[in-house]
Amino acid sequence: MMQWESGNDDQSYQLYTSIYFWGLQLGIPCMTIGILACGAYIPRRRLQRAAIHAANGWFAGGLKGLARGERAIAGWDEDSITMAVEAARASLRDFDRAAIGSVALASTTLPFADRSNAGVVKEALNLADATGAFDLAGSRRAATTGLNQALAAAAGGASAQLLVAADMRKSRPGSEAEMTSGDAAAALIVGDGEAIATLVGAHSVTIDFVDHVRESGADFDYGWEGRWIRDEGYGAMVATALADGLAKIGVDAAAIDRFIVPITAKGVAEGLARRLGISAEAVADRLADSVGDSGAAHPILLLASALEAAGPGERILLVGFGQGVDILIFETTDAIADGQRRRSVAATLADRVEDMNYLRWLFHRGLYDLERGMRAELDQKQPGTTLWRNRKAVLGLVGGRCTQTGTVQFPKSEISVNPNNPAAHTQEDYPLADRRARVVTYTADALAYSPDPPGYYGVIDFDGGGRMTVEFADVVADDVEVGREMRMVFRIKAFDAQRGFVKYFWKAVPVRTGEAG
């Protein structure tokens, strides 16, 4: 864990703000260090907590009080990497990808212990090979600490960092965590540019407070008594860090416009605000009843949500909690009005479908061992060589475009598919991931093995050329037809359980009305 207590940082802040105000006065675009863009991704299915209680209430009747609202649940084909990719894509929508210098992925549920998870995100985003990538892990504070570091790196002259946080935490059926957790991802781009928010100051403390723990390789958290966490964790540790941080940074508690405490337990944020003198109106919604606690992603998700709602000149206080506390205070800039056009959090929050099928979710998390049948026995062995040499096509959905005829195709080939001019060796890279497409043919297959039957798939044509046969995701009956507009999402294609490998590829999902760009 890094400490952010050196006095230089406050001086740096003053330097940047003065440059910022100079820019305003001169009427030129302001280049400031801070958060340049944000994005979020929340899986579409929202499991009703009442469904969990209906199944487990006979055993865990004490959780009845938590059986309100809904929690976001990732599909069988999602994990922290795929969710991170979608959040990152949302943040990059109006951003030049060539300007990204590094990718950081913060999560306590990284799929790989020794394969750069951020590296997979980098490939999926089709970023240049000359991009740094690193994973931030080990604590639900990973992302706030990472954000602190990213801002410091930017202040030191580093090029823009894409910081993504994602978590898909497994929980035992009948546990409190099952009720309160949610799956989500959020992304920030941090660097020098037209910042929508700049750092006012930061403060960190690290204390080995084991409110919950998960051993490496284990599936589930082991948690200690909630009353102790409330009193000594939130009531003492967080409150003290807040008081110290505000004093050190030199911001009056009453001047905080948005107070983000990513702790979904009822009343905790309100209690802290009261105690510190932060106004009750400043307390940000924790999305407890709509998403659930998304672990390491939660502070970033709530920050992105706050940035979407905030006007210029607002002070946002972000708390990170996990074996210590991170405090970051931001101030929004005039550029925030532009940044809000996308409203990625609001859009992904609204793109929801209520789900009462608790057993399906357990099956998708590997907690309910349904008979899959022999058709599920297809060996999914992935040769390392073929993935490596096809990584742009497989992970980045990069097709080819014939430089002679303009014919677009997927995948690339030595000789163009165009029957009128099958030119040889003329293909250039042509990314397809962000192109809309339309359904040419489709079916709902109840015979082939799918963890979420029936498996929808079909042929799609991309706007601007190119065609592929592809699986559909997030489809419901009556919402797919020839001509239906689709967009591409990064998902899990298959698991090789025998050798411990996840195969990723792209799928098509229907574009729904009101969806962000």
Partner: protein
């Protein structure tokens, strides 16, 4: 176009094993069963066979990847035996090998045998298998019904046909084939079915229900071919000859070029059929073709194939189906033996099984299902792959004067 092989090759004899769930029999037994009928029909000795082709698709659960299982099962006399696979068109591919060998003069007598033991997989439908390491990263490993069901959505969109109308036409295809199969002792499924049964069956892959799908079975079929001259020397006064044999393979256009193929038909079948008609000298297929055995892996496949073979006009095939044009007593019967629908589809065998029925019908040897007016030109269509990427084979055989 090349001169083609019209009337250069005659069928000396054919045989077909009983198709079905042959739990007690190995591929060897099925091969020998088809072969014994064929060689008896041909009236020759094993030693007179100069070359052989074996078609098998699923070698992993069958008999291995070489020609040796055929050579061993039939105790061929150390002749060249080639194993071929071209998806579900493998049977016609083996036939092509044998026919081309005779047409070239390289062999006087050649044999083609197709066999498949599908009922050793442990489940219905085709075995789920890899299609190569690159495909497995980016392709869709759907079921066969799922791949072919997509024809229906595209056909509806292309021709403005309602869901219910198309479903009924598809159901008619299956009802007709079951009526035919019920008369065939070698068919696997021999029970007539009615429209309601088909329409109300469980959904397999939208909009294909259970009865829109062909059966799955074990089987084998065999052809022995030679020149018309040698056939006459063996006492075949009016031998059935090969009029055309065309195979067309997708090159990726349907699957990869946006805005081209609309998903509602088989690009390859249209090409193979046009070439076959030219090779056979057929200019008006709807009037000249007496009967057809087509690749009815699914009802919708048969329906669109009527158009791709240039029998029905584009967008009108579903009406011809409902009008009974392809019923056993219609103008151009299709699947008069019951088709894949009732025989099931042991991959390597199917193409040869189709030619076997056409051969019997041309010779008036089809028993209770014999077409009363003796056919003169019979077409078989054998398809492998999926609508967007496939191998389509068209074989036309006929009486020598046709």
């Amino acid at each position: 176009m090349a001169r083609g092989i019209k009337d250069k090759v005659a069928i000396l004899g054919m045989g077909c094993a009983r198709f079905g769930e042959r739990w007690a029999d190995d591929a060897e037994t099925l091969m020998v069963e088809a072969y014994e009928e064929a060689i008896a029909d041909a009236g020759i000795e094993t030693s007179e066979i100069d070359a052989a082709w074996l078609s098998v698709a699923f070698d992993a659960i069958n008999i291995g990847p070489s020609g040796i299982p055929l050579a061993t099962a039939l105790r061929l006399r150390n002749i060249g035996v080639t194993k071929v696979e071209n998806y579900c068109a493998s049977g016609t591919e083996a036939f092509r090998g044998a026919v081309y060998a005779v047409a070239s003069g390289a062999a006087d007598i050649a044999l083609a045998l197709g066999v498949e033991k599908l009922k050793d997989t442990g489940y219905g439908g085709l075995p789920v298998r890899s299609r190569g390491t690159t495909f497995d990263m980016v392709g869709v490993t759907g079921s066969a019904p799922g791949n072919f069901a997509q024809l229906a959505s595209a056909y509806r969109a292309a021709h403005g046909v309602g869901k219910a109308d198309l479903k009924r036409a598809m159901a008619h295809v299956s009802v007709k084939s079951h009526a035919n199969g019920a008369k065939n002792p070698k068919a696997h499924l021999r029970k007539p079915i009615d429209m309601d049964t088909v329409l109300n069956a469980p959904m397999i892959a939208e909009p294909l229900g259970l009865y829109d799908c062909c059966g799955v079975s074990d089987g084998a079929a065999c052809a022995i071919v030679t020149t018309p001259e040698i056939a006459r020397a063996f006492g075949k006064r009016d031998p059935v000859t090969v009029k055309a044999l065309q195979i067309s393979a997708s090159n990726g256009w349907e699957a990869q070029q946006g805005g081209g193929w609309n998903g509602s038909y088989f690009h390859t079948t249209r090409i193979a059929a046009a070439k076959a008609y030219e090779e056979a000298g057929i200019t008006r297929p709807r009037e000249q073709i007496s009967l057809m055995e087509v690749h009815d892996c699914f009802s919708v496949t048969e329906l669109v194939t009527m158009e791709d073979l240039h029998i029905s006009r584009e967008g009108q095939g579903w009406k011809d189906v409902l009008d009974g044009l392809f019923d056993a007593d219609g103008a151009i019967p299709c699947q008069i033996d019951g088709g894949l629908k009732c025989f099931g589809h042991p991959i390597g065998a199917s193409g040869l099984r189709m030619i076997y029925e056409n051969y019997l019908q041309l010779l008036g040897r089809a028993g209770p299902r014999q077409r009363t007016s003796l056919p003169s030109l019979a077409l078989s269509h054998n398809l492998g792959g999926m609508p967007s990427q496939n191998v389509s084979a068209v074989a036309i055989i006929g009486t020598h004067d046709a």
